[in-house]
């Protein structure tokens, strides 16, 4: 009897056997509407109250435009840096055994676990002119703290785990046969990496870099302590929103925020579509 029922279930997957559909749907939709969608609608309503000219003059203000450029450039450099470093760290963690490996692996998530304000004041202290790193770099004539370079440092730190954690599982699951075949056919290490390993690795690497970039665009806590926040030079867009809020100019803050929100939502959807696409390619589904 029960066998007949279970086979009927597996033959008819569209039938809902498990309880709790209405309850979990209700709770999830209520929560998402209240916590996520309602506040976003609030922002849209606020910006809808502005005329197009007002809106445009706020979001194209030269100081704000300078902050877009600083944010985009710094996030691009930070995620590129993380692409290279993250690939190296993932490779070493997956491929090699060495003492302390488990500690290093655990430590990799520190930037996600550490509050951003703590990261900010720590990096700022390290890279200040009298700090441990800053004093050495100063001799080479490099200033990091209170320059755009400091923004890149803070963004790299807070988003470092993304590339490591997306590349790591793919490296672990890599089919060894292709690699062995390529080696036995006499390919050099670099050739094998470039022709055999990298082609299956790069979709995950790109995902990690994109996640790192998205996170960097929105990073606030870590950046403001080290950036110096000079108008036109080292002000990030999140800070521009914050400054407009402190001036009680809610309309301007909302207008700039709507630009940031739109950009991050587009990035989020692109990353999700991209992930679904390449996962399907890998698993052949």
């Amino acid at each position: 009897m029960s066998l007949a029922i279970t086979s009927a279930i597996s033959l008819n997957p569209s039938k809902r056997v498990l309880p709790g559909f209405a309850l979990s749907l209700g709770i999830s939709l209520l929560f998402i509407s209240l916590i996520l969608l309602l506040p976003i609608t609030g922002l849209l309503l606020q910006t809808a109250g502005m005329s197009w000219n007002e809106y445009w003059s706020v979001i194209s203000d030269p100081r704000v435009v300078a902050s877009y450029k600083v944010t985009l450039w710094a996030a691009a450099w930070a995620s590129a840096f993380n692409g290279v470093v993250g690939l190296l760290l993932a490779w070493v963690l997956v491929r090699y055994e060495f003492p302390g490996k488990r500690i290093v692996d655990a430590l990799m998530d520190l930037p996600f676990a550490l509050p951003t304000a703590v990261a900010g004041i720590t990096l700022s202290a390290l890279f200040a002119e009298n700090g441990w790193y800053g004093s050495i770099l100063a001799e080479a004539g490099i200033k990091v703290a209170f320059t755009p370079l400091g923004i890149i440092v803070a963004m790299s730190f807070t988003s470092l785990p993304f590339v490591v954690r997306t590349v790591q599982p793919v490296l672990e699951d890599l089919a060894v046969e292709d690699e062995e075949a390529a080696i036995s056919m006499g390919g050099s290490d670099l050739t094998v990496f470039r022709r055999v390993i990298f082609p299956s690795l790069w979709p995950a690497l790109l995902t990690g870099i994109a996640l790192s970039f998205t996170r960097s665009l929105g990073e606030f806590g870590a950046v403001i302590f080290i950036a110096g926040n000079m108008p036109y030079v080292s002000e990030i867009t999140s800070l521009m929103i914050f400054i407009r809020l402190q001036e009680f100019d809610y309309a301007a803050a909302s207008a700039i925020a709507s630009v940031v929100l739109l950009a991050s939502l587009i990035l989020l959807f692109l990353i999700n579509i991209w992930q679904a696409f390449y996962l399907r390619r890998i698993h052949g589904r």
């Binding site: 609030g42 490779w91 550490l114 951003t116 990261a119 290490d189 929103i241 925020a257 929100l261």
Partner: protein
């Protein structure tokens, strides 16, 4: 000669050890030294000054508020996360994929924008806030506002940990339970919970870590009233701007301690999950 199982690139000793050395140097410079610097700075005035800083009246209040907000945030997002994961992994319905994408929004949105969203809606000029003001209810610039934005920024963590795991485990076990006449609660307690308990613990730990450390969003809605609406990360900022660097790092060291605990729990959970998988594989053999 290398055995076929070890025919891999990058295994020559000089390649291997130079990559490991490079990776470990980067980990030291990027992660270990900053972590060490937090505690070095915190204790730079000696143990007595550390204790004095940590037991300062305003610091104690900030610790209390931070723990209070985290203690409310975690259960809210735990319940929501479990229901959402149950919904999207146990049922097929139109809009399922969209729901999974929506839940990622808080990860993509800048914390400052998150704070602004709530300020616009629930602030005294806001659509809901102004109506609440008529009844003398003020949410922003007091702890309910801090709680609301904290729930927003941390709501994906539990769901994000559970969804891939529950997807992978499938629903056969629960369906068998239904045919045996188990109620919804029995299904969850006896079948689902034992399968997901470690991922659930990790989700909770991540939620807690972020709830305790959130800076940008809280900073927008808190009003930074010392001894009233100052959370621990905001207190760090306040002390740092007052040039009380040792005090700022003393508070930071508490947050860093929570971060280290988070990393420890994560390693432990992963170890348990690996053992569970291992045991399952043995059973199948």
């Amino acid at each position: 000669m290398r055995t076929s199982a070890h025919l891999r690139i990058g295994d020559q000793p000089w390649v291997k050890w130079s990559l490991i050395t490079l990776a470990l140097s980067l980990v030291t410079l990027l992660l270990l030294v900053p972590l060490f610097a937090i505690f070095a700075q915190a204790f730079s005035g000696g143990l007595e000054s550390y204790i004095a800083n940590v037991t300062d009246r305003f610091t104690l209040h900030a610790i209390g508020l931070t723990l209070f907000v985290a203690a409310l945030t975690v259960p809210i997002n735990l319940v929501f996360g479990v229901f959402l994961a149950w919904l999207v992994t146990r049922f097929e319905f139109p809009g399922r994929k969209l729901l999974i994408t929506l839940i990622d929004i808080p990860f993509a949105v800048s914390p400052v924008v998150a704070g602004l969203l709530y300020l616009l809606l629930y602030g005294s000029n806001g659509w809901i806030g102004s109506r609440l003001m008529d009844h003398d209810i003020q949410l922003m610039f007091s702890w309910p506002g801090i709680l609301m934005v904290t729930v927003f920024v941390t709501c994906p963590f539990v769901a994000r940990e559970l969804i891939p795991l529950m997807q992978q485990q499938g629903k056969e076990e629960e369906e068998a339970g239904v045919t045996l006449g188990a109620s919804g609660w029995q299904l969850f307690r006896r079948i689902t919970l034992p399968n997901i308990q470690w991922a659930l613990i990790y989700g909770v730990v991540l939620t807690n870590a972020r709830a305790v450390g959130e800076f940008g969003a809280v900073s927008v809605v808190s009003g930074n009233i010392r001894g009233e609406t100052n959370t621990l990360p905001l207190h760090v900022e306040l002390l740092y701007q007052d040039y009380n660097v040792v005090g700022a790092f003393a508070s930071s060291s508490l947050l860093a301690g929570i971060a280290l605990l988070t990393l420890f729990v994560k390693s432990f959970v992963e170890w348990r999950q690996a053992r569970q998988r291992h045991a399952l594989n043995e059973e199948e053999i």
